[in-house]
């Protein structure tokens, strides 16, 4: 009888210990997520945008004015001869890469290339090349199993961020549904995945 009681006590002690450890672990994870979320607000500092399908300054002006309606865009410097826009983002606003594409398309044109400066802070890229930074999920095409730190220049190579023919070529080469659809399951939830090439 006494032996059984002792055994039971030991077990429940173990359980309490387990629950306690788990809570701490969860708290740590939560704080990391919160911290990462804060960092993501200024995670992308600048970008160079190549807009395709235009040659005239009226078209460039329309594109620039469309982009300026986004609240996270700080300054835009256009190169009217090369149809390039150098964009700096506001420090306190989260950058939405898809919104940039939408605004260029609203003006009537397309993105030919978008290369941005991402500021990573101990970002783990897993063995599949996937990295979660705050609310953004990145799939690296040419980086895996490493930790990224500091400013990294990367191009977004998703659909409608490169020319239609380049996308088709890449899609055939990668054979990945996450690439063709631009999204995939992350922690069981369908999530937008940006595909980056460093």
């Amino acid at each position: 009888m006494a032996l059984t009681y002792a055994l039971l006590r030991q077990m429940s002690n173990k359980n309490i210990n387990y629950i306690f450890m788990n809570t701490i672990k969860n708290l740590i994870i939560l704080s990391i997520v919160l911290f990462a979320g804060k960092v993501s607000a200024q995670q992308i500092s600048s970008a160079e945008l190549q807009v395709t399908g235009l040659t005239c300054s009226m078209c460039s002006q329309a594109t620039e004015k469309s982009l300026k309606t986004l609240d996270f865009i700080g300054a835009i410097t256009p190169d009217l001869n090369k149809n390039l826009f150098a964009i700096t983002f506001k420090k306190d606003k989260a950058v939405n890469i898809d919104q940039i594409r939408k605004k260029v398309e609203d003006a009537g044109f397309s993105i030919g290339n978008l290369t941005a400066v991402f500021n990573f802070n101990n970002t783990k890229v897993d063995d599949q090349g996937l990295a979660v930074v705050g609310t953004n999920v990145y799939q690296f095409l040419n980086a895996k199993s490493q930790t990224l730190n500091g400013a990294v220049k990367a191009s977004v190579v998703d659909k409608n961020f490169i020319s239609g023919s380049s996308f088709k070529k890449k899609a055939a080469q990668l054979k990945s549904t996450s690439y063709t659809e631009g999204s995939g399951l992350v922690n069981g939830k369908k999530t937008r995945i940006y595909h980056l090439s460093i």
Binding site: T52, N81, A107
Partner: protein, 270 residues
């Protein structure tokens, strides 16, 4: 067939030479749309010298609803039947359904439709839904931009809906017309862009034709035009179209000048 050849030869020539462009055509519309959530205001004045000098003034508002759909609303005022008076209105919608963009080039295709009303009396089989006739029009536009050169082709079908009481005695009543045009535009200035405030100078050359599918009677116009774009938002057009061949009696828009000013307001719609 001869007309078709006439139209195809310049296309073949232009495609063969690697060229460069502008597509803000003066006598036709490109397949490209204006930016979404933008508004454009146009004031056009056009006039003919025969049989008597008469002019038409067309105020026009253009609205870009989204990247693919835009609408024009036009009013028509002229002194073609005596004193200057309002003669009608038109609603034009254009939907871009294809867009292939590349660095400094693109290919676009769009479908358009127009509904017009006019109080003018009818006296020719020609149909002009920009002031002279009531009716419907539908068509397709294909535009290719190659750096500084823009080429565009338009095909359309027009159907007039005129009341018999408007018909002048002994004169033909309009029914239907096929329209076709081939337009080219070239960016002359600036050679090198420095900023948005530099004026742009564009030259246009358009071939505009119509055929009555019932009897084959046709006409073909050549239409050169010059255009200045100021501050990358204000556009001034000056053009003239003259008939080079045709057998449609008392046709509209024959040997006509066109002067236009257009103001663009980007991102004014929510």
């Amino acid at each position: 067939m001869r007309l078709l050849k006439l139209l195809l030869i310049p296309i073949a020539m232009a495609v063969g030479t690697t060229a460069q462009s502008q597509e803000l055509y003066v006598f036709s519309e490109p397949a490209s749309n204006m930016p979404a959530k933008s508004i454009g205001i146009r004031l056009t004045n056009e006039g003919v010298f025969n049989p008597k000098f008469a002019t038409r003034t067309i105020p026009e508002m253009m609205i870009g609803f989204n990247k693919n759909l835009m609408v024009h609303v036009q009013g028509f005022f002229s002194d073609m039947d005596g004193g200057y008076k309002a003669e009608g209105a038109s609603l034009y919608g254009k939907y871009r359904f294809l867009s292939v963009d590349d660095v400094k080039s693109h290919f676009r295709a769009a479908a358009f439709a127009r509904i017009s009303t006019s109080s003018r009396p009818t006296y020719t089989e020609d149909i002009n839904l920009e002031g002279d006739n009531s009716g419907l029009q539908g068509g397709l536009i294909f535009t290719q931009l190659l750096h500084k050169l823009a080429l565009s082709a338009t095909l359309s079908y027009s159907k007039a809906f005129e009341q018999d009481r408007k018909q002048q005695t002994g004169m033909p009543q309009p029914d239907q017309m096929l329209g076709y045009s081939l337009s080219s535009g070239y960016l002359m200035l600036p050679f090198v862009y420095k900023n948005y405030n530099q004026p742009n100078l564009n030259l246009y050359f358009e071939v505009l034709g119509k055929t009555n599918p019932e009897n084959g009677r046709s006409y073909l116009d050549l239409a050169p035009a010059v255009q200045v774009v100021l501050n990358s938002r204000t556009r001034i057009d000056l053009g003239y179209r003259f008939e080079v061949a045709g057998n449609v009696a008392d046709r509209y828009t024959k040997n006509m000048y066109l002067a236009r000013v257009e103001f663009n307001f980007f991102n004014v719609l929510k």
